[in-house]
Amino acid sequence: MISVPCPWCDERNSAEFRPAGESKKRPDVATTTPEEWRTYLYTKSNLADWVTETWYHRAGCRRYFAIERHTVTNDIRTSRLPAAQIRLKESRG
């Protein structure tokens, strides 16, 4: 059982979380094309390397957050709030 550092709850067993996969930016629905949209829906980098993923702490604080995890060792090197929340914080100073 790997241990996942939640930005709010610290280290917890991975079973407490729902991994939501590689973090992606949602295309602008006004201008998106089928190719772009379905790439967003389906295509993954699936690297054997460090990847940025979104996880949801289902059995804990119920917060979404982003981690950098190595898909070979399962080591996790960073854990932070979702990008949108960071942008909001910055915008509010």
């Binding site: 006004a30 979702p82 929340q85 909001l88």
Partner: protein, 931 residues
């Protein structure tokens, strides 16, 4: 029964001679002592043979006298594959040999020994190919040779549980090094878990010299003084997973729960540091006859003599290449056995052992043949490296010391102590363990590495013999496999099954590697490498892994009433719901004519507050929400980003900035996470607070023409008239004296109906008051089945039944609901593109031409012999129309009302269905529910 082989009391013996135990073996009654293992007790009674080998059915006796002795696996009562050389004797045990047919003394299949030469490894790959239809017959015969014990369909599950442990240091192995490591770590104030496979701490000291026994006593005393050391004996660290997640199996922990003895307990340990102090395992020698009963490892002999006071044989030949072998010679002489020493260090060697049921003589390299009843080998060691392997290490072979050693590739939070790292005296081992323990505690210490003492490389003699005892694989089999091209250790393992058996390669692996090296003509075992050790280090029962069942079961506050009224329980995920109360059709009719109550508490409810809720709803649902007035209720459908229908329900506006969203019962959790996802990762700037209140309210749907009449008797401060409280609106008020209820007028059943949401603790109270007050109105409860029938009569689809993982919005007849002129909403792009296509199947209402036929749900709509043009997704007999009705999907060209389609039923008969106009079978214009 043969003569007793029990010796006079031995120093350090673990049996209690004052406490005899009676048990049964092969139907006969035997006696042993408390502290005996099954095998030591039988051996004391003169029993030599405990099993028959897997393939050739040869008689097998004690080899290592440890848990992983491949020859001592027995059946105990209804427990298969018990390690007889480890499991302690218990009063009344019924023990029987496994893998014998008809009996241990004579096994008919031992004829295989004669035809063995034709049964080379993997022979079954080379025959039985034709005729194919005969293979099942061959397969049955092969099955006869399956090893192992028996299970019973009616065997007791027994009691198993689990435990989490958090410690600073976990020590695997309670020998001198492990004990010393635990003590120093504990001295440094760390919490320590000390795990030992045997029943007592001590490792090899337990069957050692007087000095070793004295050292053991001192170590045990020190361990006992630390209350920050938890000692687990008869327990094993079975695996190390990422981030030092450690599995420890505690066998028969001696804990009684509700009259059950816990059989095994799985402990899941998160430890700062794992100290591996697993010691060494003595390695068998490969030579002809090495699997005869009476051919033993030196440590097995010492265990039998010193721990159990059993004489393993009186005329012994000991092949020794190390001090432990010499100690074994001393032990044998001490107990009066005649011993012939064959010293491998001066060129002595064993060529082959001969005998029948037990070894009778042994042929030596110098040409001598010696009559004997015991052949002992002490030719070297296997380093038990699986835990290190699981921690990323790939141990390296050292020719000088003739065994594998760990490297620095092992994970940083895993340390290795004791004999795994080198050789030393008792005090040197203790010193090394102590230093590693200090290191584990974070103290900066210089660890003096243990020396690697030279040891002769001895794997195979000049003859071929058994490498894997539990699989009956010989060195000859391996050489043949190599020649056939199965030349890597992994391939030969898979082809011959060497190391794949119940002893998991603990005894065989290094011999297997050495045989491969020999076959390849390479001198360095590293060129062959080792196989990757996989968890668990020792087998774990399914019971321990499963532990206690924690499957959640959710009940509505009204459950006591349902049970009292014989509701048939329906398992709906976590929820237990009333399917019906005896007659669903009558329940339907009652709702259509009088008034009925259904408990819809599991309906998902999300309390949404804040100024931006309308924007959230507009984003989640395919329809529009910006103009919903206070007191208004609207039905909405959610699609995922791929346009697939995800959930539906009604949402009402209770006040300016307060909304209540309902979801399907099964979708409640998913929708909540979906909402949070949008709020947290896309629109954190929005002012919305979302709180799940599904079970904060008991939800009761009051449906039927007389529902208003009923509610007027119990509802305060709400005008229930159609004018004041019209269809698709919500009101808050007091019901049966309970304030803070809200109710909305919706029509899932198609009747005039009010869905009342009551603070949960009062759910039963309100339900009972409603039932009580409605007697004269013919009130009755209805269950999920009646509700399903009524919604089908009304043509409302059920997400997940009338839609599937590919049903994109328009396919579910949602054209009226989807608003593409909204700037944005979940799944919009896919719906836009779908709206420009027409090649998707349509959801339609269907009615069988023969009104008495109810097609099974999932029956396929077909054209010709096999072309599928749609399917039935919902199907019931309608009590209201007194005919069968369906929902289903058809190809667009068949979606025109009036089209007749063919449906193939499960019995392959075919019936005609008519495509209807609109989805509703009953009251299409909804007049009944809007009164």
């Amino acid at each position: 029964m043969a003569e007793s082989r029990r010796l006079t009391p031995q120093p350090g013996e673990v049996i209690d001679r004052s406490s005899p135990i009676t048990f049964r073996w092969e139907g006969d009654s035997y006696q042993g002592f408390t502290g005996d293992t099954i095998v030591s007790a039988l051996a004391a009674n003169g029993v030599d043979i405990f099993s028959r080998s897997f393939k050739y059915k040869k008689p097998r006796g004690v080899l290592s006298a440890t848990f992983h002795d491949p020859n001592c696996t027995v059946q105990v009562d209804d427990e298969p594959n018990v390690r007889g050389a480890h499991r302690q004797l218990q009063t009344g045990m019924v023990v029987s040999p496994e893998n014998v047919w008809p009996s241990l003394k004579f096994d008919a299949r031992s004829a295989n020994q004669v035809v063995g030469r034709f049964l080379s490894a993997g022979f079954y790959y080379k025959t039985f190919m034709k005729p194919a239809k005969l293979w099942p017959v061959y397969q049955k015969i092969l099955g006869r040779f399956a090893a192992g014990g028996i299970t019973r369909a009616d065997a007791e599950h027994g009691y198993y549980d689990k435990r989490y442990i958090h410690v600073d240091v976990c020590v695997a192995g309670g020998g001198p090094a492990g004990m010393a490591a635990a003590i120093t770590a504990a001295d440094a104030g760390k919490s320590v878990l000390l795990v030992e496979e045997e029943y007592d701490l001590g490792g090899h000291l337990r069957y050692g010299s007087a000095d070793e026994l004295a050292a053991l006593a001192r170590l045990r005393a020190q361990v006992a003084t630390h209350d920050n050391i938890e000692v687990m004996t008869n327990s094993v660290v079975t695996a190390r997973y990422d981030m030092n997640w450690i599995a420890v199996i505690q066998r028969q922990p001696g804990i009684s729960v509700k009259g059950h003895e816990i059989h095994e307990r799985l402990c899941k340990v998160r430890t700062g540091t794992l100290v591996v102090a697993a010691g060494l395992i003595e390695r068998p020698y490969v030579f002809e006859g090495n699997d005869l009963a009476g051919v033993m490892l030196s440590t097995a002999v010492r265990r039998m003599i010193n721990l159990y006071g059993v004489l393993p044989g009186s005329r012994a030949v000991v092949l020794t290449a190390n001090p432990e072998g010499d100690a074994c010679v001393d032990n044998l002489i001490r107990v009066g056995a005649s011993v012939t020493v064959v010293d491998a260090r001066t060129g002595g060697n064993v060529v082959r052992a001969k005998g029948g049921k037990r070894v009778k003589s042994v042929e030596l390299a110098d040409g001598r043949t010696i009559e004997c009843d015991l052949v002992v080998t002490a030719i070297g060691w296997t380093a038990p490296v699986p835990l290190l392997n699981m921690a990323g290490d790939r141990p390296v072979y050292d020719k000088t010391a003739a065994r594998f050693f760990p490297t620095d590739r092992v994970a940083a939070n895993v340390l290795v102590a004791g004999a795994l790292t080198g050789d030393g005296t008792t005090s040197e081992l203790i010193a090394h363990g102590a230093a590693i323990g200090a290191q584990a505690a974070g103290s900066p210490v210089d660890v003096t590495a243990l020396a690697r003492v030279a040891h002769p490389e001895m794997y195979r003699s000049t003859t071929h013999g058994i490498v894997d005892y539990s699989e009956d694989v010989s060195s000859k089999d391996m050489v043949a496999a190599k020649k056939e091209g199965y030349d890597s250790i992994e391939l030969v393992k898979r082809y011959t099954t060497v190391t794949m058996g119940p002893s998991q390669g603990k005894l065989e692996s290094v011999n297997a590697v050495a045989i491969m090296a020999e076959a390849h003509g390479v001198k360095d075992l590293n060129e062959i490498g080792t196989t990757v050790w996989r968890p668990p280090y020792v087998p774990i029962t399914l019971g321990a892994l499963g532990g206690r069942g924690f499957e959640n079961t959710r009940f509505s506050p009204i459950q006591p009433w349902h049970e009292a009224h014989m509701a048939r329980p329906l398992v709906a995920g976590d929820w237990i719901r009333p399917e019906h109360y005896g007659n669903p059709a009558a329940e339907v009719t009652n709702v259509r004519t009088n008034v009925g109550l259904i408990d819809v508490t599991p309906l998902g409810k999300l309390d949404l507050r804040g100024a931006d809720v309308p924007r959230l709803l507009n984003l989640l649902y395919v329809n529009k929400w910006l103009k919903l007035p206070v007191g208004g209720v609207r039905y909405g459908v959610m699609c995922a980003e791929d346009g697939v229908v995800m959930d539906d329900g009604v949402t009402g506006r209770l006040s300016e900035h307060h909304y209540m969203m309902t979801t399907t019962s099964s979708g409640a959790a998913t929708v909540w996470e979906w909402v949070e996802n949008w709020l947290q990762t896309e629109h954190p700037e929005w002012e919305v607070h979302c709180t799940p209140v599904t079970t904060g309210y008991a939800s009761i749907n009051v449906a039927g023409p007389r529902s208003r009449q009923l509610l007027r008797r119990l509802v305060e401060n709400v005008d229930l008239s159609n004018e004041a409280f019209p269809y698709m609106t919500v009101r808050q008020g007091t019901v049966a004296g309970i304030a803070d209820c809200f109710m909305w007028r919706i029509g899932f059943t198609g009747e005039l109906s009010f869905e009342i949401h009551v603070p949960a603790a009062y759910g039963l109270h309100v339900w009972e008051r409603l039932m009580d007050s409605g007697q004269d109105l013919g009130i009755g409860a209805f269950g999920v089945e009646a509700q399903r029938i009524m919604r089908l009569e009304k043509g409302h689809f059920i997400v997940g039944q009338d839609t599937d993982g590919l049903t994109v919005g328009y396919g579910a007849d949602l054209d009226w609901c989807i608003k593409l002129d909204k700037d944005d909403f979940a799944g919009k792009p896919e719906l836009v593109w779908q709206s420009q296509r027409s090649n998707y199947q349509r959801l339609v209402a269907l009615q069988p031409v023969d009104p008495t036929v109810v097609p099974a749900e999932a029956s396929q709509l077909v054209e010709g012999t096999k072309s599928i043009v749609g399917r039935v997704t919902s199907s019931r007999m309608s009590p209201t129309l007194n005919r069968s009705i369906c929902l289903g999907y058809v190809e667009p060209r068949l979606a025109t009302p009036g089209t007749v389609v063919t449906c193939q039923l499960p019995d392959r008969s075919r019936v005609q269905l008519t495509v209807m106009n609109g989805l509703a079978h009953v009251d299409p214009d909804g007049s009944r529910m809007k009164v």
